[in-house]
Symmetry: C2
Amino acid sequence: MKGFDFEEERIKQEIAKQDAKRVLIQLPEGLKPEAPRLAAIVEKAGALPIISADPCYGACDIAAGEAERLGVDLIVHFGHAQMLKHSQVPTVYIEARATITIDNAIEQAIPLLSKWSKIGLATTVQHIQALDQVREILVRVGKTVVVGDAGRIYYAGQVTGCDYSNVKSVTNDAEAFLFVGGGRFHALGIALATSKPTVIADPYEEKAYLISAEADKVIKQRWAGIEEAGKAKIFGILIGLKPGQKHLDEALRIKEAVEKSGKTACLFAIREVVPEALLEFPTVDAYVNTACPRISLEAPSKFSKPVLTVNEFKLVSGESSWENLLKKGLFEN
Amino acid sequence: MKGFDFEEERIKQEIAKQDAKRVLIQLPEGLKPEAPRLAAIVEKAGALPIISADPCYGACDIAAGEAERLGVDLIVHFGHAQMLKHSQVPTVYIEARATITIDNAIEQAIPLLSKWSKIGLATTVQHIQALDQVREILVRVGKTVVVGDAGRIYYAGQVTGCDYSNVKSVTNDAEAFLFVGGGRFHALGIALATSKPTVIADPYEEKAYLISAEADKVIKQRWAGIEEAGKAKIFGILIGLKPGQKHLDEALRIKEAVEKSGKTACLFAIREVVPEALLEFPTVDAYVNTACPRISLEAPSKFSKPVLTVNEFKLVSGESSWENLLKKGLFEN
């Protein structure tokens, strides 16, 4: 796979440094095709490689339990910056920085930003090294550029699927945001978190476009889902089983709030929050997801019942208002 | 859900006996709709109920790791007889015996068995209590009935998704088999394991039918898959992560055999062996599944690449012949 730096030399060095005999290779979905090639590198470095074939969508999802069960002494996790401070098994993070050029996509984004002069800049870890260059291009065409750093995630200007603290920290200083990277997922997160116009500059497709209409659609759909959940009699409260997604205390708190209002609450432990899993429980009217807050925030929703975020549930329980929710964000801590 | 005995009284007793404070409820897919009702019973008995929402297809798949992570002190596992001797967390097995009448389905099966006089009888744990009654009906119409007991699983005459040792132990004494239970899955397993005509008496649908044509189709498809795997250059070897599906040593042995023949082998750790997971690795030509041996044995296959059982791989490696494979069984230990 061209376009990403898999840091082959560092992998070999880490195996030697840790004297690892058995290595678990974990990649997010888009990078998984590289796994057999990376396994060969690990084997050449003298360790037995095992590839994790289960879904992986973030650094919240380190396969530490799996590694323990397999007697693995080193995890090499690709595609994400470190998020969890502790892991039972030593873990090396290979961020898989993109080596692709971004100029073309940025050039196409500039006309879409013409209405605004103060631009907030954001990207995923893959393109974090390109932010200075993007800033220079924007300054050259007369923009003021802000890059947020709330200190919660690894890099200034970085966003992850569920953490938009960096863009939120500069929301008041930016009239619009420019996201550099592939796909709609992260840019949609920025638009939802900031309620500001958000442009994607996609270096893989070499094109730029505005994501705001999609964000409006999601917000309308969330409103409808919250309304529907308000009529629910039986709530399912989802507890994530992945290392960075387990919020048992929060789930217990929500169970109590549901029961206080005279309704029924069931706790569900779940690894992959997929529509088919929830279809097995037809008597449950609505869910509150304490695991990954991004999972149900797509339009149109793939779920047949409302799956609320923890923040959204606060509207149902009367702890918050729609205005506060939009201000705080549909899904952020 | 009518038709099954969920042993509500025993659940309460076990919670009291173990002084359980937090209980994980685990059910296979067909019984999951009962979960909220069972959770209410657990809660009334004084424990906090958590429902496992992840897929569960057998007693090989006890959610013990999940229970540990959630601080659970008792697992109540429904729908299967005990299979694993040890679990890190105390586990109660509620077999969910069927309370439905079987007479009608058996009456319909009798004409389908007219060609044979020696009938092997088998069922799942749900209907194990009905075997005596079925035997009587068959004897009354002049059949000789055999019920196998190889001593490997819980009950004489019982089959599970991956264990047909009981029917195999009486293959030579039976001209045909009668399976009592719902769905085609277990009866197909009997037909594949014994190569004998197999009739299903399905008490839920109140009908009976012969499964042999489907078994023939599967065997033809398996042959084609083995042939295709013979041309593979890169093999993926699947290691199951579920408690009763982890066969790491077997996977290592297969890796060695693949490499001895000058081909490449990659180890994959996987929880749910689903087609989408394997689609992520386009360079792998064929898989050997050391996890659940039944997963790929459906016709038509949902997998885009051959997914061989351990026994089937022995044909590719030259350790066995097609005749031996059919005799030993496509998928049995």
